[in-house]
């Protein structure tokens, strides 16, 4: 479903993603883990047409995101790390807009919006403005929104960051159900190792732009002779904290926290 070959991304002299290759089968739940600054978000951006790779090949459901941008974009949905909802619209309107953008016909769109909003338990809040939603509600809405056009692949960039255990549990239950019933492929990044351990079928660990380990959670624990995925992760990537520069995105994020 997702095939990546020798993917590289350089920003000037800095190599963010260094010649990585991996593939994700249809219906798999794939976790992409790594320390901060490893290249996870850069990789996801390249997979979702937001960034152009320096070199390498990507295939999403048979489509090249660079050459067949349109078809590639139709085949996936994404839930970003930072919220991308329109705060001045209601939940329902946000869903409608997405449906229109992805050219889902009106009847089907309305039916799916109802089904999805009920699925994430936001149907009775459908006419409330999103700016009054809590972080957890916004995230649930984004998950529902990403699914309106029934994508074959769902990308999630740190989907449960900052959410309480109940919401986290709910979100993963939705995703696992969808994966089982619709055979939807899921590609996600996270820092919550226990979640990856419980939910993922296979894992790739990226560090300093290179993939340092791939396999099922069981395999990774076995190879490092540990019991918890977090310990396996620390064994593989080491315990030193990564040096990262503060970039403009971090500064904006900090400012955003003050805004609210």
């Amino acid at each position: 479903m997702i095939d990546v070959e020798n993917l590289t991304k350089k920003f000037g002299n800095f190599i963010a993603v260094d010649n990585i290759s991996f593939s994700v089968d249809k219906g798999e739940i794939f976790a992409f883990l790594g320390p901060n600054g490893a290249g996870k978000t850069t990789t996801i951006k390249m997979l979702t047409t937001l960034l152009n790779p320096t070199s390498g090949k990507i295939s999403l459901n048979g489509n090249d995101p660079i050459k067949n941008q349109y078809e590639a974009r139709c085949s996936f949905g994404i839930v970003f790390q930072d919220p991308s909802l329109d705060d001045e619209l209601t939940a329902f309107e946000n869903m409608e807009f997405h449906g229109v953008l992805y050219k889902v016909p009106k009847e089907i769109r309305r039916a799916r919006i109802e089904q999805l909003l009920k699925f994430v338990e936001l149907w009775d809040r459908r006419n409330n403005l999103v700016k009054n939603f809590s972080g957890g509600m916004k995230r649930r809405l984004e998950v529902a929104r990403g699914l309106i056009h029934h994508p074959k692949i769902l990308f999630l960039d740190e989907p449960t960051l900052g959410l309480d255990p109940q919401t986290r549990n709910h979100i993963w239950t939705y995703i696992k159900d969808l994966n089982k019933e619709e055979g939807m492929t899921v590609f996600f990044t996270t820092h919550y190792m226990e979640e990856a351990d419980r939910v993922a079928h296979r894992i790739a660990i990226i560090d300093n732009g290179k993939i340092v380990s791939q396999g099922t959670p069981a395999e990774l624990k076995q190879n490092t002779k540990t019991n918890l995925l977090e310990d396996a992760f620390l064994t593989i990537t080491g315990k030193t904290i990564r040096e990262e520069g503060v970039n403009t995105l971090d500064r904006m994020r900090m400012r955003r926290r003050f805004r609210r």
Binding site: Q69, E71, L101, Y102, M252, R256
Partner: protein
């Protein structure tokens, strides 16, 4: 609005003495343009924020051409800016401004729309190149202020020192202000047809440039 009241009533008598006529009549189209200009350019700043935390990301990932998104944004921002112009016009009526010719009002509105569209597209184009809000503030001061002050919004364009005159004729806002002034008060420096012609061409050019830059946005 403060501008209109302060400058209008402040400079009014002097202007009259210098033989220019009623300053409030002269000034109002300039102030309307000012309102539209700033609202429009600021809709550009929204993009920089939106890129990361807002809705724009969602549209960038969707199977929609960048050109369509750009047009949509420009029309949306332009509408808000034009509304601003209309509101200012309304308030100016209260202060004492009287349009010369009611039938030319739709044409005046057209000029407002042109100014709104042009500067929204310009704001979007600039914002597509920038990563950070700070850069935008700088642009504001070095680009916007000169554009506004040398456009004939606040003072007439005849009898000026040569170099200021040249800058004013290169300034796109001058044509907008002039057109607006021409339709509202029958005083026109460049002539209505020239204004219309110039504005249409540069608006199309800036839309094209803006779409191109917008399509190159990488987050």
């Amino acid at each position: 609005m403060l501008f209109l009241v302060a400058l209008g009533f402040g400079f009014g008598p002097i202007y009259q003495k210098a033989g220019g006529g009623n300053y409030i009549q002269f000034l109002t189209p300039g102030i309307i343009s000012m309102g539209i200009l700033f609202t429009a350019i600021f809709s550009g700043i929204e993009i920089i924020w939106d890129r990361q935390f807002g809705f724009l990301k969602e549209t960038l990932v969707a199977p929609v051409s960048r050109f369509e998104i750009m047009i949509g944004r420009t029309l949306g921002g332009g509408t808000v800016a034009a509304m601003q112009g209309i509101i200012i016009l309304g308030i100016s009526l209260v202060i004492g401004f009287r349009p010369e010719n009611i039938f030319l009002l739709p044409l005046a509105f057209l000029f407002m729309v042109f100014i709104a569209l042009f500067f929204t597209a310009l704001g979007t184009a600039i914002a597509s190149l920038l990563d950070d809000m700070q850069g935008f503030q700088l642009i504001m001061n070095f680009l916007l202020m000169p554009l506004f002050f040398l456009s004939g919004a606040l003072f007439p364009l005849y009898g000026l020192p040569k170099i200021i005159g040249v800058i004013a004729s290169v300034d796109p806002l001058s044509y907008g202000v002039d057109g607006l002034r021409g339709t509202l008060t029958n005083i026109s420096h460049f002539g209505l047809f020239t204004d219309f012609f110039v504005l249409s061409i540069i608006t199309i050019i800036i839309l094209a440039i803006g779409s191109y830059l917008f399509s190159k946005i990488q987050i």
